[in-house]
C-alpha cells in the first residue's frame, strides 16, 4: 500500500483553482520528484498536504498510511510523520534555535510514546547531526532562522528533518538559492534518511537537485494536474527540452 496516496485532489485559494485533480502515490521507501513550471501548483500541493490555512480542498482525497490526512490539524500531521521543508523558512525572533528544535522534537517524541529528551541529551544528538550538515554550532544559539543566509536556512530545515525523522518528507524547492556545495550537503542529508519506511516528495523546478538525490519516480505538474510520470530519465528530458512540450500536452 502506498504510504502517501493522493486521489483526484483539487484545491483552491481565494476562489481560484490551483490544484485540479491530482493523483499520485508514493510507496514506502521511495523518493518521488514533482517538477513543474512556475505557477503550476507545486507549493500549493505541499501546503495542502501539510494543512496550511487558507487552502480549500474542493475535491478528492489524500491519505497517509490509509489515514485521512486532510481531516488532521497541521500538528497532527506532523505527529503522524509528515514533514515539510519550507521553501521560505520562517523567522522566529527571540526563539532560540536549540529551544525550538528540542521543543519540536519532544512534541513529536511525545506522540510516539518516546521519552522526552533533556537539554543534554538533545544537544548530543543535535551536534552529531549538525556536523554531518556542516552547520556551525553557534546556529543553535541564534534565533530560529533569524539572520541566517539562504543556504543556512535550508540546512536548518534539513537538520530539523534529520532530528524529527519523519516518514514522509516534502521538500518544497529546497534547492532554490543553494550553491552547489550546499546543494550536495542538503542532498546528503536527504539520502541519509533513505530507509524502507521513509518516503520523500521532492518539489523542484530544476533537475539539478535530482543529480544528487536520484528519485524513483518523476511527476510533471502543469496547471494543477500531473501530466506525465516516468523514471529519473524524465527529469533529464525536461531539463533538455524545457516545460514547453509538456505544457502543450496539458
Amino acid at each position: 500500500m502506498g504510504m502517501l496516496k493522493i486521489e483526484n485532489l483539487s484545491a483552491e485559494i481565494d476562489g481560484k483553482t490551483i490544484l485540479n485533480g491530482i493523483s499520485l502515490e508514493v510507496p514506502a521507501g521511495e523518493i518521488h520528484a514533482v517538477m513543474g513550471p512556475n505557477g503550476s501548483g507545486k507549493s500549493t500541493l505541499s501546503y495542502v498536504l501539510a494543512g496550511r490555512e487558507g487552502y480549500e480542498v474542493t475535491g478528492g482525497s489524500a491519505t497517509f498510511h490509509g489515514q485521512d490526512l486532510l481531516a488532521l490539524d497541521p500538528e497532527e500531521r506532523a505527529a503522524a510523520g509528515l514533514f515539510l521543508a519550507f521553501q521560505y523558512p520562517v523567522e522566529l525572533p527571540g526563539v532560540g534555535n536549540a529551544n525550538f528544535l528540542r521543543t519540536a522534537l519532544n512534541a513529536i517524541r511525545k506522540t510516539r510514546g518516546e521519552p522526552e529528551l533533556d537539554a543534554m541529551q538533545f544537544l548530543k544528538i543535535a551536534r552529531e547531526r549538525m556536523k554531518a550538515l556542516s552547520m556551525p554550532e553557534d546556529m543553535l544559539k541564534r534565533g530560529v532562522n533569524v539572520g541566517f543566509s539562504g543556504g543556512e536556512k535550508k540546512r536548518n530545515e534539513v537538520l530539523q528533518m534529520a532530528l524529527l525523522r519523519p516518514q514522509l518528507a516534502i521538500l518544497d524547492e529546497t534547492d532554490s538559492g543553494l550553491d552547489i556545495d550546499a546543494l550536495k550537503i542538503v542532498a546528503d542529508g536527504v539520502n541519509a534518511q533513505r530507509a524502507p519506511d521513509f518516503s520523500a516528495l521532492i518539489i523542484t523546478h530544476y533537475q539539478r537537485l535530482l543529480d544528487y538525490i536520484i528519485p524513483d519516480r518523476v511527476h510533471v505538474l502543469v496547471k494543477g494536474r500531473i501530466v506525465k510520470s516516468g523514471g529519473p530519465e524524465l527529469a533529464h528530458a525536461l531539463e533538455k527540452e524545457g516545460y514547453a512540450s509538456v505544457q502543450e500536452a496539458a
Binding site: A50, G51, A79, V90, L92, R102, N106
Partner: protein
C-alpha cells in the same frame, strides 16, 4: 546552554487553563468600618501603634487627597470608583510574631501559591540532576496578606549582614529614623491622586535597608495577596541602598476571583546612594477579571526610584499579566552624575484587560544613562498603551537614552498604542526611540505547528521569543514563572 529549558518547561507544565490563584482563604479577619474619612486614617495609624508624626503625615496626605481628582489622562476606561464602598483595613485576627505562630491556614495559602515561607536548608549538591537551577539560592520572603505582613523569613540571617528586611509597620517601630528620613522623599504625599490616597491609608508593605558596601546575599521578595472581599490593598514599600551596596528585590501578587473590582493602589520608593545598585522585579498577576470583563483588580500604582548617588543604578523589570486595569509607570530620577536607570517591561492585555504602563526617566545629573525596553502584547479585546517620558535637564550634559517599544497584536479586536514624550533641554544629550508593531504572523504559527507544536504552544513560543530581552533580566526562578504566566494569560487568545 542557557535558555534551552525555559520555554519547553513553560509550555509543558501548563496543562490546565484559567487563573489558578483565584481561591479564597477562609480565615477570621478584622476589618475597619467601611468607608474613608479621617477617623479611618486614625484607626489605621492606631492599629499600627504609629508615632504621632506619622499620623500627622497621613492626615496631611488625606487632606491633600480630598482636594485632588482622579487622573483622566491615561487611556484606561472604567466605571467610577466608590471610595466609600470599600474596607481600608483588613487583617487576620491573630497577629503573629514569628513563623511558628502564623495561622496554619495562612501557611497553607502560601504553600498553595507556591511561596516558600519556611526557611529552607540549602542542600548543596543533593539534587544532582546537573543543571544550574539546582544550585537554588534561598529567597527571603515578606508575605503581605490583605493589610498586614504575616511573616518575613531569613530575617536573622540578613541581620548578620546588617541588612534590615521587615514589614514597613515593623520598621516604623524599630527604625523610625530611617523611615522618617526617606518615607515620601521620592514620591511626595501630593504626587498624584492614588499616591495621596496611599499615603493616607497605607497598611503594610516591605522595608529594606542595605548598609554601606554590603551586597545582599539573597534575593529579597514580597508576596502580596488580596484575600478579603470589598477590600482595597494599599501597600507601601521603601528600599534604601546605602553607598556601594547591592540588592535584588522581587514582588509577586495574586488575588481571588471575584465579580467586583478591587482597588490596589501601591507606592514603592527606592533610594540608591553613591555606587549603589537596586534591581526591582515584579511579576504582577492580580486577578484580571473573567473573559467577559467582569471583576478584576484595578491596579493604580506609583513606583519611583531616586538615583541620588553618583554612579548609582536602578533597574526595574516588570511582567504585567494580571489586573483588569494597570496604571503604572516605574520611574527613575537620575540625580547623581553617571547614574543609570533601566526599565524592562512586558505587559499583556487579554480579554478585556487594559494596560497603560511605561516609565519616566528624568535625567538631571551629567552623563546619566537610561534604557527602556517595553514589550506590549494585546489579545482578545485588550488595550495596551505604552506611555513614557524621557526628560533631559539642562545640567545633564552627555546624557543618553535608548527606548525600544515593541507591540505584538494577537487577533483583530485588540489595540496597541505607543505614547512617548521626549523633553530635552540639553544640547549634548542623545535620545533614541525605536518602535515596532507587529502581529503574530500566520506563517510563524504554521511553521511551528508543522513541527508538531499545538497552536497554543506555538503562540507561547512566539510570545516568549518576543519578550526575551525583558525576561532575561528577571532572576532565574522568576523567569521560568513569568514564561508560564505569559502562556496562561494568553490561553484561548488564538483560534
Amino acid at each position: 546552554m542557557p535558555a534551552v529549558n525555559e520555554t519547553i518547561e513553560a509550555v509543558q507544565s501548563v496543562t490546565d487553563s484559567g487563573y489558578k490563584w483565584g481561591f479564597e482563604t477562609d480565615i477570621e479577619m478584622e476589618f475597619a468600618p467601611k468607608g474613608l474619612n479621617e477617623d479611618i486614617v486614625r484607626f489605621i495609624s492606631k492599629k499600627k501603634n504609629e508615632p504621632e508624626w506619622l499620623l500627622e503625615w497621613r492626615l496631611r496626605a488625606f487632606a491633600l487627597w480630598q482636594t485632588m481628582e482622579e487622573p483622566r489622562w491615561s487611556a484606561v476606561k472604567y466605571n467610577p470608583i466608590d471610595y466609600q464602598d470599600a474596607y481600608y483595613y483588613a487583617a487576620p485576627k491573630q497577629g503573629p510574631k514569628s513563623l511558628e505562630e502564623v495561622d496554619p491556614e495562612l501557611l497553607r495559602t502560601y504553600e498553595k501559591l507556591g511561596i516558600p515561607l519556611r526557611e529552607q536548608e540549602v542542600l548543596a549538591g543533593v539534587e544532582g540532576a546537573g543543571s544550574a537551577a539546582d544550585a537554588r539560592m534561598p529567597i527571603a520572603v515578606d508575605a503581605v496578606f490583605d493589610s498586614v505582613s504575616v511573616a518575613t523569613s531569613y530575617k536573622a540571617r540578613l541581620e548578620k549582614e546588617g541588612i534590615i528586611f521587615c514589614s514597613i509597620s515593623e520598621a516604623v517601630q524599630t527604625h523610625p529614623e530611617l523611615v522618617r528620613k526617606y518615607l515620601g522623599s521620592v514620591v511626595p504625599q501630593g504626587d498624584n491622586f492614588f499616591a495621596a490616597l496611599n499615603c493616607a491609608v497605607f497598611t503594610d508593605g516591605s522595608f529594606v535597608y542595605v548598609p554601606k558596601g554590603v551586597r545582599c546575599p539573597m534575593e529579597l521578595s514580597t508576596y502580596f495577596r488580596i484575600n478579603a472581599k470589598s477590600t482595597g490593598q494599599f501597600e507601601r514599600t521603601l528600599i534604601i541602598a546605602d553607598e556601594g551596596s547591592t540588592v535584588s528585590y522581587l514582588e509577586g501578587c495574586t488575588a481571588p476571583m471575584r465579580d467586583e473590582n478591587q482597588l490596589h493602589a501601591a507606592v514603592v520608593e527606592l533610594v540608591a546612594l553613591d555606587d549603589a545598585s537596586i534591581k526591582y522585579s515584579t511579576v504582577q498577576n492580580w486577578y484580571p477579571g473573567d473573559a467577559n470583563g467582569k471583576g478584576g483588580i484595578y491596579n493604580f500604582v506609583t513606583k519611583r526610584a531616586a538615583c541620588r548617588g553618583k554612579r548609582s543604578k536602578v533597574s526595574w523589570t516588570q511582567v504585567e499579566t494580571g489586573s483588569a486595569i494597570t496604571w503604572k509607570y516605574p520611574s527613575c530620577i537620575l540625580q547623581g552624575d553617571d547614574s543609570v536607570g533601566e526599565f524592562y517591561s512586558v505587559a499583556i492585555a487579554n480579554n478585556w484587560q487594559q494596560a497603560d504602563t511605561g516609565t519616566k526617566m528624568i535625567h538631571l545629573g551629567a552623563r546619566t544613562k537610561s534604557t527602556i525596553v517595553s514589550k506590549g502584547i494585546s489579545a482578545g479585546q485588550g488595550q495596551n498603551t505604552y506611555r513614557g517620558l524621557v526628560r533631559i535637564g539642562p545640567r545633564a550634559s552627555g546624557a543618553r537614552n535608548f527606548t525600544q517599544c515593541d507591540s505584538l497584536l494577537i487577533g483583530d479586536k485588540c489595540g496597541a498604542h505607543t505614547v512617548p514624550y521626549i523633553e530635552n533641554r540639553c544640547l549634548t544629550a542623545k535620545v533614541e526611540h525605536e518602535a515596532t508593531t507587529s502581529r503574530i504572523a500566520e506563517d510563524q504559527l504554521f511553521y511551528c505547528r508543522q513541527r508538531g507544536l499545538s497552536q497554543e504552544e506555538a503562540v507561547g513560543m512566539i510570545v516568549n521569543g518576543f519578550c526575551r530581552e525583558v525576561l532575561k533580566e528577571l532572576p532565574m526562578e522568576f523567569a521560568v514563572e513569568a514564561q508560564k504566566l505569559l502562556q496562561i494569560s494568553l490561553e484561548g487568545s488564538v483560534g
